[in-house]
Structure formats: structure tokens, C-alpha cells
């Protein structure tokens, strides 16, 4: 198991990016809740991520 797996790294980076752009940073126009599109993006990202973790385990077993 390594933190340097490129696909895991990429998936996490995408989730972290979306989370930052939509949920962090200076907000001036009131409360911007995570948009529906945002939720979908993050959710899809997480599923990708979990799939990757599974793939890694499989690769290790083989």
C-alpha cells in the first residue's frame, strides 16, 4: 500500500479540489451551500476513490 499510487492520488486530488472550490475560500455572497451539481461531483469522486482503494488491494493480493 502506498500513497504514491497515481490513480488514487489523482482521485483524491479531484475530490480535494472540488471541496476547496465549492466549500472553502472566501464567501461573500451569503451562504453558498454545496450545489446539487457539487454534491454529485463530490459523490462521484468518492466512489471513484473507493473503487481505487479496492483496486489497490486487489493488485497487492495478486
Amino acid at each position: 500500500m502506498t500513497s504514491n499510487s497515481p490513480s488514487l492520488q489523482q482521485d483524491v486530488a479531484l475530490i480535494e479540489l472540488v471541496d476547496r472550490v465549492l466549500n472553502k475560500g472566501v464567501a461573500l455572497t451569503g451562504d453558498i451551500t454545496l450545489s446539487v451539481a457539487g454534491v454529485d461531483l463530490v459523490y462521484v469522486g468518492l466512489r471513484l476513490l473507493l473503487a481505487s482503494v479496492g483496486t489497490l488491494e486487489q493488485l497487492e493480493r495478486e
Binding site: M1, T2, S3, L8, Q9, V12, A13, E16, L17, V18, R20, V21, L22, N23, K24, G25, V26, A27, L28, T29, I32, S35, V36, A37, G38, L41, L46, L49, L50, V53, G54, E57
Partner: protein, 222 residues
């Protein structure tokens, strides 16, 4: 109507990049000390951003961060702002913005996610209430240990940090660290060492990011 990307110190260094819908970037002075970097929102409809818009916003913020030593990234605003409105809101908070700019000056953000290396979700359902309680207690103990053994040594290398345990069932810990640019390599080395020492979890380090997670100053609520 304007789309806001980031706040920087006056005078803003504008990167050689375009904003959403290829609109040119411009500096929008808040007061003598803080500039906003904006583009004209043009035809953009208010509402949820598309994936392409999220990525475009992030790319512009990256470019601004590369050109200015202190940058406060803006969250993607679902609604664009009129000029006067934007200036008014920024002026209301200028003391906090200056303070936040000082804090992030010369720093980048590094993100950490700690994932379990085996999937606990596939365990059988607890046979009793007592067993359920014991599992929850074990889990809490485990996360507290992770905070102590992983987060605390990393936080010691950072100017500021935030952490969030069990934000989602399969993510044990998420954390963000505000790290001086010169210390990024040292930080990475420490993460590698912690990773080697903890076989039961996967550490994924991301960044460097512009300091999205460090734009609030004390006393301010999100």
C-alpha cells in the same frame, strides 16, 4: 456583474490567464491595501457551476497564487455580484481580509486524507448492543490515536492547521496544513515517514494548493 477569484495585496499582479468564458482578468481595488481579482461574468447564469467552471475557477486561482505571495482564494460564488455590492461586502471585512492575507503570506496549503487500508464496511453486523458499543468505542479510540500520531506531528510543521475526523465513514481523517513554501519538502518527507510507520492506514497528501482552507480569521464564522 463580476465573478470573484481571489483577494491579494494591492497592487495585484495579474497572471497571464483568462477567467470563466475566456473573460479577461482585472484587478478591482477594495481599498488601498487589498485588491480583488475578478472577471466580467457576462452571460454566465446564476446557479450551480458545471465541472468545467469549477476547474476553470481553480486554474485561475492557481495562476493568481503563482503571481502573488499572499492570496486568499474565493469560493465559487453561485451568484455573480454587482460591482458596488462586491466592493461593499469586501469593505465591511477589510480588517479581517488584511489579517488573513498576512497569515497566508508565503505559504501554500497541503491536504491530507487518511483512509483505512482494509475495508471495514464488510464486517458483519454487530450481534448485540454491547458489541456495537464496543466497536464504536474502538473506532473513537483509533481515530484519537491517529490524530495524536499523524496529525499532531504534521501540525507542528505548519503555521496553521485544520482537521476533521471521520468526515465520511470511509475517510478516517481529513486535514489541511498551511505551510511556508520553503518547508514543503520537509513536510512531504515527514508524511512519507509517517506513512511507513503506519501500515494499517493509507496517507494521501495533495497539493500544494492555494490556501483555500485558511481564509477565515479568528472570530469569524463560516
Amino acid at each position: 456583474m463580476l465573478h470573484l477569484y481571489a483577494l491579494v495585496r494591492n497592487p495585484a499582479e495579474l497572471p497571464d490567464a483568462f477567467g470563466l468564458d475566456e473573460a479577461p482578468l482585472r484587478a478591482f481595488p477594495v481599498d488601498g491595501e487589498v485588491d480583488a481579482v475578478v472577471s466580467d461574468a457576462g452571460r454566465r447564469r446564476a446557479g450551480a457551476p458545471t465541472e468545467a467552471e469549477v476547474l476553470a475557477h481553480a486554474r485561475v486561482v492557481d495562476a493568481i497564487a503563482a503571481a502573488n505571495t499572499a492570496v486568499l482564494p474565493a469560493r465559487f460564488a453561485a451568484d455573480t455580484s454587482a460591482e458596488d455590492d462586491l466592493r461593499g461586502r469586501l469593505l465591511e471585512r477589510r480588517a479581517q481580509l488584511r489579517q488573513a492575507l498576512e497569515r497566508v503570506d508565503g505559504c501554500v496549503e497541503l491536504g491530507l486524507r487518511v483512509l483505512p487500508s482494509e475495508r471495514n464496511a464488510e464486517r458483519s453486523a454487530p450481534a448485540s448492543g454491547r458489541e456495537y458499543m464496543q466497536r464504536r468505542l474502538d473506532e473513537i479510540g483509533r481515530v484519537e490515536r491517529l490524530l495524536r500520531e499523524l496529525h499532531e506531528p504534521l501540525a507542528a510543521l505548519a503555521r496553521e492547521s485544520t482537521s476533521n475526523v471521520l468526515a465520511r465513514p470511509d475517510v478516517l481523517l481529513t486535514a489541511a496544513y498551511l505551510v511556508p513554501r520553503a518547508d514543503v519538502e520537509r513536510f512531504r518527507t515527514e508524511v512519507d515517514e509517517l506513512h511507513r510507520a503506519h501500515g494499517t492506514v493509507v496517507l494521501v497528501l495533495t497539493g500544494p494548493w492555494p490556501p483555500y482552507s485558511f481564509t477565515l480569521v479568528e472570530g469569524e464564522t463560516s
